[in-house]
Symmetry: C2
Subunit: 430 residues, 2 copies
């Protein structure tokens, strides 16, 4: 019987796994550079975890099930609710501020398409209990520091930044009711993906007052924070939100990444829980989805039954990123799937025991080593050694039988020399 894999999932053959490791290792290195600690949660949680604040899109995409104890569970579609749960559980024991990162495997029952799969990895970086744009800037910095480390430049990618707090204040100042903000965010977030007419129609449905709708349309088109007063009169609390956003841009300049960052009123984000700064990193050209996105979520811990503690963070998936790195020639097609210090070739069956014993000895000394399974022509064996990215081949041949000597071949230079077996061993351990 032949069973296929599930649509929208990936099989990580060693060459594919090497790409995943290349990406994940880069994420971990960038997290470490910026001083984040790694955490993780379970791959499934109670279904209700995702019905609290994740937003309708995620709720519709849940893989959920009932266990034999009758519990309603779901495979995690994001890790932020888990983060909120975990921090709340240990809030008195954890040293704050909290700077945590994670690289969870996530699942969403989406229609598979370019850059979107049903199972993917997402780098998450979060700072908790820093109620200051410093933390927002640091989250954006960490994402961009990683992206720069791959070789991407400000000509390739841009961080588009806005503020939910500012947007909320402006919308409320023109008379939009607080209870209507959440569905409006979801609509405004989709604006760039919708044809103009479709957006206008949906906006008219959401906001029946024509003047309000017109002002929202104008607001969404401002190019700079300085243009906002021409559309909507700035009052508190919008003024304070704008000041905060300007402070964020100053910090990004200070961190040396100002040229990667720009204001974009159109960045709203789909998730329901954002309360302040929101951002997305996009490829400058092409039609790829966002490479990463995030924002401030000051109410989430409270929404999950904990104290009101400020929080900000971001997530970056592996799928869109991989497409972009390939497009830009920044991802090798032939990353090594393994690397050996030694490959042991054996030309005579009678020498195989010695070859096996030496291989084990090398491994136990901490070297990576492999040994051919069957004697064969030297050329064939050296080919196997090359395929395994071997530094040096060790040849058991007639020199061994006659003089107890190994041949050592440097696979880079091709140079080879013979050495007494015992000498080789004592050189290794000295």
């Amino acid at each position: 019987m032949k069973i296929p894999s599930v649509k929208g999932t990936r099989d990580f053959y060693p060459s594919v796994m090497a790409v995943r490791n290349f990406i994940v290792d880069g994420w971990k290195a960038a997290s470490n550079r910026s001083g984040f600690e790694e955490y993780d949660g379970p791959v499934f949680e109670h279904l209700t975890m995702y019905q609290v604040k994740s937003g309708q899109e995620i709720v519709e995409q849940l893989f959920h099930f009932t266990d034999r104890g009758g519990r309603e569970l779901a495979i995690r579609p994001e890790i932020t609710p888990t983060l909120a749960r975990m921090v709340n559980q240990q809030i008195n024991a954890l040293a704050r501020p909290i700077k945590w990162f994670s690289v969870p495997r996530l699942c969403r029952a989406e229609r598979p398409q370019k850059g979107r799969l049903r199972e993917f990895f997402q780098w998450n970086v979060d700072i908790i209990d820093v109620d200051d744009p410093r933390a927002d800037a640091e989250v954006i910095f960490t994402a961009l520091d990683y992206l720069q480390s791959t070789g991407l430049t400000a000509a390739d990618i841009q961080a588009r930044i806005s503020s939910r707090r500012l947007l909320a204040a402006l919308l409320q100042s023109i008379g939009i009711d607080g209870s209507k903000l959440e569905p409006l965010y979801a609509l405004l977030d989709k604006k760039s993906k919708l044809p103009c007419e479709a957006f206008d129609e949906m906006l008219a449905k959401a906001v029946s007052d024509k003047d309000q709708a017109a002002r929202i349309r104008s607001l969404m088109e401002v190019q700079s924070p300085d243009d906002i007063p021409q559309v909507i009169r700035m009052e508190e609390p919008a003024k304070a939100a704008l000041e905060e956003l300007k402070k964020l841009f100053l910090l990004l300049d200070l961190m040396g990444i100002g040229d990667f960052c720009r204001f974009d009123m159109g960045i709203v984000r789909g998730l329901a829980y954002y309360t302040g700064m929101v951002f997305e990193v996009h490829a400058v050209s092409g039609d790829l989805r966002a490479i990463c996105g995030g924002g401030r979520f000051d109410n989430l811990l409270r929404d999950f039954g904990g104290p009101a503690i400020a929080a900000t963070g971001m997530g970056m998936g592996d799928c869109v990123l991989e497409i972009l790195l390939r497009e830009k020639g920044l991802l090798s097609d032939t990353l090594p799937t393994r690397k050996l210090d030694y490959y042991i070739c054996c030309l005579e069956e009678g020498l195989m025991s010695g070859a096996i014993a030496l291989t084990a000895t090398l491994r136990r000394l901490g070297f990576s080593a492999d040994c051919v399974y069957k004697t064969a022509g030297l050329g064939k064996q050296l080919k196997l050694a090359s395929a395994a990215h071997t530094a040096q081949s060790i040849i058991f041949g007639q020199e061994m039988t006659k003089e107890n000597r190994l041949i050592l071949k440097d696979m880079q230079s091709g140079d080879q020399r013979s050495i007494l077996y015992n000498q080789f061993l004592s050189d290794l351990t000295s």
Copy 2:
């Protein structure tokens, strides 16, 4: 609202994550030493994947669900069926022999207890297309090489080894029908966990012939392969199976791990798909479950619709292992959750911009660096630096204001010196 985690799952807070990383990094290093390539599959597969050959115990423990397309899916309880599927799919493209390892996250709906959780990590090592005890020996070697690298000795752990092929030949030679072998394996596998009377009773039910049952009981008690002929007359194919097993023990000696290994007729393994060598590693003392187990499964690829290709492998979970390492004092309670090259302390609010900029510069140069969020007493800031396992602290204080000098403090020795800001920067990049 407060939502708990799901029973039997773990929250990997940074200190817990450090333990997981310590274990997983060790597994990966041992895999690399022995020349294995990393692979992975999706976290869920079609439910039927696990109904083919996994054995009743695993089928009963599946977390399964139906997606919106009506597909019956299950979270993976083991990765071997995925391995068989993946290898079959690419059988003509993959260079053989195949030496692959993986560290999958697995889920089983078991009753949580000591060493058994509903979600765990399992190191898997497999060799495909080597129809020789060499491969079996290499699998056992790789497991033991890792366990030795943690500090465990032959006084702590033992590999107990037997052969399903030998057992099958012996059982058939006393008249047990081939179709009855599979349920009998499941029973014999449980023998060591059952009281004698309970086992005898169950055996009597499974094997109605009293003489056969008596001979099986005697067989299960032999201490050495040499004792088998006293219980059951050795004929082909039992003789060949015994020779193969003896060859395996010779290879284990040759690899220098003979003192870790012994024959144990009681090792049968629960999974339905084993066909040859089977083994488990157990703690010598105490009542822990097996630390790892595996065996040869020459029919599995064929059972999954592929060609008949030999295969052998093993799995080692993280839960029992962690308990044992703690019991033996081989796992630190205070593994670092992060390490910093530099921690930037700032004593005056007016110097904070400079501190932020330097932190970003250090990170972009590849150093791990963090900066205090709020100015505070130096003692408090150095405490934060220590908690983050910092090598050197950089202090922005009055020396900066007056002379543009930083204070560099070595956190190990406590020594400190002042250095011109520009000198420090040019030292870093030179």
